[in-house]
């Protein structure tokens, strides 16, 4: 424990590098997943068409997609002989970003749909009275639901940064290149380097705590603003 504290206090180079890469991969994955998941969820909230229920069920099911399965699918896509093999992404941070984005896009889309469906119930008649079609309703809901949606994004970030299986498979846990906090903790623990594993664990916990505190602060701000 003392050793772990020392590593954190002295800003150990390897440690900082791992933490930095973790944040970069997960934040980029959240941004990519949000770019797809937010509009998709909003669209599902405001439209009614045959097959919509099926998509909603599929998204809800994908929320529980096991990370290792997501990792395996991306691995197959990106491997040398796979359809996207020519891009040479396997065992790079890029592959890890793709895997995490695939993992959390359904979560963001499903939670966005749930959140905005309630808002739409309240808004629908008024917006239709104003003459707003789907094309205007979607951005309106995304904007007016922004505080609740920030919580949705933080949930996605939490899931991405805590996940081991997918990044392990497509990243390969290469030291100094694709090693992130979760894969490093798994490796160092099995190697017996408990101080480093523990230090990483403490930092990961601190990040998760900070994210949740931020989520709470956003909710409080939203209440205060009457949103």
């Amino acid at each position: 424990m003392m050793l772990a504290a020392g590593l954190i206090a002295t800003g150990d180079q390897a440690l900082l590098q791992i933490v930095g890469l973790s944040l970069r991969v997960s934040l980029t994955a959240v941004a990519a997943a949000a770019a797809v998941g937010l509009p998709l969820g909003a669209l599902l909230a405001v439209t009614r068409f045959p097959g919509r229920q099926g998509i909603v069920v599929a998204l809800n099911a994908l929320m529980g997609l096991p990370p290792v399965v997501a990792g395996l699918l991306i691995y197959l896509l990106l491997s040398r002989s796979g359809p996207l093999g020519a891009m040479g992404l396997l065992f790079t941070p890029g592959a890890m970003i793709i895997a995490q984005a695939v993992l959390i896009a359904p979560i963001i889309a499903a939670l966005t749909r749930q959140t905005l469906e309630m808002l739409w119930e309240e808004y629908a008649e008024q917006l239709r009275s104003f003459g707003a079609g789907v094309g205007r309703a979607v951005p309106t809901l995304l904007w007016d639901g922004r505080f609740a949606l920030l919580t949705v994004l933080l949930a996605g970030f939490g899931r991405a940064s805590a996940e081991v299986g997918a990044v392990m498979i497509v990243g390969g846990n290469i030291e100094g290149f694709t090693r992130v906090m979760t894969t490093a903790i798994a490796l160092e623990t099995s190697k017996g380097d408990l101080p480093l594993a523990l230090a990483l664990g403490v930092i990961l916990m601190a990040i998760v705590l900070a994210v949740n505190a931020l989520a709470q602060a956003v909710r409080d701000l939203a209440d205060w603003r009457g949103a």
Binding site: E122, Y123, E125, Q126, R128, S129, F130, G131, A132, R136, T140, W143, D144, G145, R225, G226, A227
Partner: protein, 238 residues
């Protein structure tokens, strides 16, 4: 008043509406013309709100037709509606008033929105979050938001049902001012005193049918049907 073509008069032929196998409106025939406010009365469940939504195009009739004096889409753009419980966008008061103006592509939208807030006495609250307003203020904002559009017809669905007497009076004053500005008011209420204060024309809806339609003076002083007389005495179908 406008010199250009108008959406009114509206002729309604055999208007029917059913939902889930229940007939809510059972064939209404009437006309709406420009001028003093039309107030639609009737007991709860008579179909007043459904009628407004059909006229405004939020619901599709299951039978009968609406004959506007302009093509349907054009007529639709000249209407606005305020609901019993005002829908406040999660934005500032000013942004709420701006929203439909921007949507309609109105010129000088910000000025129009500020003017509308001024007219309902909310100019000082322009930057406040709309959902932090009191119930009465929210309804005034909803009216300002609709008024800013300068609609030819404004539908009001029980606009004061959720308000206290003071807020009700303010809202009625605003409704009077909107009517005076040349907008045709079509509103529902189950409040007789309010109907007497506002109506230029009164309609009584009973059990999905139009029981009576008459100028307010004759409706209230010499009720055209026995049911209207009973309704005004307050001993029918409450």
């Amino acid at each position: 008043m406008r010199q250009e073509a108008t959406a009114l008069p509206l002729r309604v032929d055999g208007l029917r509406f059913a939902a889930g196998g229940v007939e809510i409106l059972r064939g209404l025939d009437f006309a709406l013309v420009a001028g003093a406010p039309t107030v639609i009365m009737g007991p709860n469940g008579a179909g007043k709100s459904v009628l407004l939504r059909l006229l405004h195009g939020l619901l599709e009739p299951t039978g009968g037709t609406l004959h506007w004096s302009l093509p349907r889409d054009e007529a639709r753009r000249r209407q606005a509606m305020v609901f019993q419980r005002p829908v406040m966008l999660r934005r500032s008061v000013l942004a709420n008033a701006l929203y439909p103006l921007r949507l309609a592509g109105a010129p000088r939208a910000e000025q129009a929105a500020r003017d509308a807030l001024e007219r309902v006495g909310l100019a000082a609250l322009a930057d406040r979050p709309a959902r932090k307003l009191s119930g009465g203020e929210q309804q005034r904002l909803a009216l300002a938001r609709a008024w800013a559009l300068r609609p030819e017809i404004l539908f009001l669905d029980e606009p004061t049902a959720a308000l206290d007497p003071a807020a009700t009076r303010q809202v009625e004053e605003i409704i009077g001012a909107i009517a005076a500005s040349g907008t045709k008011i079509v509103m529902t209420t189950h409040h007789l005193g309010q109907a007497r204060r506002i109506a230029g024309e009164a309609m009584l809806l009973l059990d999905g049918r139009l029981n009576a339609q008459a100028p307010a003076a004759s409706f209230f002083d010499a009720p055209p049907t026995p049911e209207a007389a009973a309704f005004l005495r307050g001993d029918l179908l409450w």
